[in-house]
């Protein structure tokens, strides 16, 4: 942290003299900050809308039904904006439904990670000693394991399905969240207000739910948000390798794998899902970063 001496050199006025402002610029900065959050957030909402709600109101063709007569239509074809696959499936629909899976998986994985991992981490951090050691060793095993390898093994042996992908990816998100939760709990545990509560005999679960969890939430939430991008990336890798969503069902990673096979002929089957993947993760990361700055989480 900047000491009082160093703060001066950096341009933070004396503590008593005025509020220390890290940015020397004017109000434009605040606007930029807000934009950093609202634009990605809005884009994500639009995408979510199109993936989940739009097909309910507009007759979007099925992503797994098509006529071979329509195969391999290029991009911008009438009726098939993103073209079709080699068996005539509409790519636009595949993008939308693939997006659905992506978001469902991400939400599932991060949700479970947040709840289970968070709980484990808080318990480990709060209980200390034996419980903590045991929990941490178990989690260490999961972490030592190269995540992708573990996920591959799990996904493969469980078979291909969306739920199994979610379970497999939890092997990554639960230990990661647990680590963060544990570190935060350790830090909070020694805070004066928690010590005071402990000393006055407040029950442990009450302290946890009333003091520790609320203070931990911003940190955990931003961590989850930032981790969502990684989860989506890993999931696409799984689909790409063929271990994730089973074949006719659309997934962005799967579409990219197909795009690779026709790369020498046409680039759009590769570029379109790649752009969507990239765009989604960028928005998530920007949103996560922006929120982290806004909420002042480290």
């Amino acid at each position: 942290m900047a000491g009082p001496v160093a703060s001066l050199v950096l341009g933070l006025p004396d503590a008593a003299g005025g509020s220390p402002q890290p940015q020397p610029q004017s109000r434009g900065r605040g606007l930029l900050r807000t934009l950093e959050i609202t634009i990605p957030g809005a884009l994500l909402l639009v995408l979510l809308f199109f993936c989940f709600i739009w097909p309910l109101v507009y007759p979007v063709p099925s992503p797994t039904y098509g006529s071979v007569l329509n195969a391999n239509l290029p991009i911008w074809s009438p009726g098939h904006i993103f073209g079709t696959t080699n068996v005539g499936y509409d790519n636009m629909a595949r993008i939308l439904y693939g997006g659905r899976t992506t978001f469902e998986v991400a939400a599932g994985v991060q949700g479970i990670g947040l709840v289970v991992g968070g709980l484990l981490g808080v318990i480990a951090g709060y209980a200390g000693r034996i419980v903590e050691s045991v929990l941490m060793r178990v989690l260490d095993i999961l972490i030592a394991f190269p995540a992708l390898v573990l996920i591959l093994v799990i996904a493969d042996s469980l078979g291909q399905s969306e739920m199994h992908v979610i379970w497999a990816l939890c092997a990554f998100s639960i230990p990661a969240t647990a680590r963060v939760a544990r570190a935060g709990t350790l830090r909070l545990r020694d805070q004066p207000f928690v010590v005071a509560a402990r000393l006055s005999g407040v029950k442990a679960w009450r302290i946890i739910s009333g003091h520790i969890v609320p203070n931990l939430m911003p940190q955990l939430l931003t961590f989850s948000l930032l981790g969502t991008g990684i989860v989506i990336i890993i999931e696409s890798g799984l689909d790409f390798l063929g271990y994730g969503i089973p074949d006719p069902a659309p997934s962005w990673g799967g579409m990219i794998a197909y795009g690779q096979t026709v790369m020498s002929v046409s680039l759009s089957p590769l570029i379109v899902p790649s752009l969507f993947l990239f765009g989604t993760v960028v928005c998530l990361n920007l949103l996560g970063d922006g929120l982290r700055g806004r909420w002042g989480v480290r």
């Binding site: 009082p4 001496v5 001066l8 050199v9 006025p13 004396d14 008593a16 003299g17």
Partner: protein, 362 residues
């Protein structure tokens, strides 16, 4: 060793040649000859998010070669900011106006390159926090040689010798061994000595000690102050000591300047100041110092309230809200800093008039 107010002025056994001569002259700003440092109407403003913080609002003082000036004030008084301005260490967000002349050369407005030459060579600083002011991953000796070789054309071996010499000068025993050690292997007092060694590496004419002993225990504090004075005597360095401790200043400084809310409120040589304290703020500072002859378990008179917000400049005297002597006209207009008595300047409409009743027992 000088106790808090037991002995005014320099501690016994160490007076610098330059200072004893300059003692007899009139107060600050009126010395004959070329002053080492001449600050005139220095103002420093920080702009951020549309607000302007007036950290320093027009201060002037002079430092003669070899003399010691103490700048006293609490946090937010602007004392540290003004020192940084002398060193040219303020960032570009700070607007500095006024004049700072070092040996006649204007510092304000100098380019970064010239300022880099100036820092460390002409003026050096000793900082407050010995724990954090040294690079933990760099050997102590190398941190000194870095300072040496920055300004002096010495080779590695010569720089090393000089560094060891400096370590010995600041009274660190086993200097050769200490050279190769890391900061965490030294105690707080020793680290402060190392910082002093770094500051003196190129024998600057002016040394600024910003709360240099605040983080140390009383014994070490005295040792460091004594060291500084001895070094002054040896090298003829002028010293500006920044502190909130008036008692410390009493023991070690020749001239004293009291700052409050970015301005100078009282300025005199030490004798005159303690003989008749004028500014109620200075008086309050004095009264807050614990003394031997006070009744035990008596509440120390503390100055209530907080220093003002420097982003809003009020019309009247900045100290008025907290001043025990405040009158209506104090809030109306800012009292100017004037030399009401020879060599003794103050800025107050209603200064303390009574002579301090022999509390500075000579």
């Amino acid at each position: 060793m000088a106790g808090p107010l037991g002995q005014l002025g320099r501690r016994p056994g160490g007076t610098s040649v330059a200072s004893s001569g300059a003692r007899d002259a009139a107060g600050p700003g009126q010395q004959p000859g070329v002053p080492l440092l001449e600050v005139s109407d220095l103002r420093v403003r920080f702009r951020s998010r549309g607000e302007t913080v007036h950290a320093v609002q027009g201060i002037s003082y002079t430092v003669e070669p070899g003399r010691t000036l103490a700048i006293i004030g609490e946090s937010g008084s602007g004392k540290t900011v003004s020192a940084y301005a002398v060193l040219g260490l303020l960032p570009r967000t700070a607007q500095v106006s006024g004049s700072i002349r070092f040996k006649g050369v204007e510092i304000v407005g100098l380019g970064e390159r010239e300022l880099r030459e100036h820092r460390g060579r002409n003026v050096a600083m000793v900082f407050q926090n010995p724990e954090r002011s040294l690079n933990p991953t760099m050997k102590v000796g190398n941190q000194i040689t870095e300072a040496v070789r920055r300004h002096l054309p010495l080779g590695r071996e010569q720089a090393r010798e000089r560094a060891i010499e400096l370590l010995q000068t600041v009274r660190i025993p086993a200097a050769e061994r200490r050279f190769h050690e890391y900061p965490h292997q030294l105690s707080g007092g020793m680290r402060q000595r190392v910082i002093i060694a770094i500051a003196l590496a190129c024998e600057p004419a002016l040394l600024i000690a910003d709360e240099a002993t605040t983080a140390l225990d009383v014994t070490t504090q005295a040792q460091i102050m004594d060291l500084l004075l001895d070094l002054q005597a040896q090298l003829g360095t002028a010293l500006v000591m920044i502190s909130h401790d008036l008692a410390l200043a009493a023991s070690y400084a020749e001239d004293i300047m009291v700052m409050y809310a970015g301005r100078v409120v009282e300025q005199a040589c030490a004798e005159d100041l303690f003989a008749s304290v004028r500014m109620p703020y200075t008086r309050a500072l004095l009264d807050a110092v614990p003394r031997v002859d006070l009744e035990p378990h008596v509440l120390l008179p503390v100055v209530g309230g907080l220093p003002p917000d420097l982003s809003k400049v009020a019309p009247g005297c900045s100290f008025a809200p907290r001043c025990p002597e405040a009158q209506p006209d104090c809030q109306a207009a800012m009292p100017p800093l004037e030399e009401h008595e020879t060599g003794h300047w103050w800025a107050c409409w209603h200064p303390c008039t009574k002579e301090a009743p022999g509390e500075l027992g000579e």
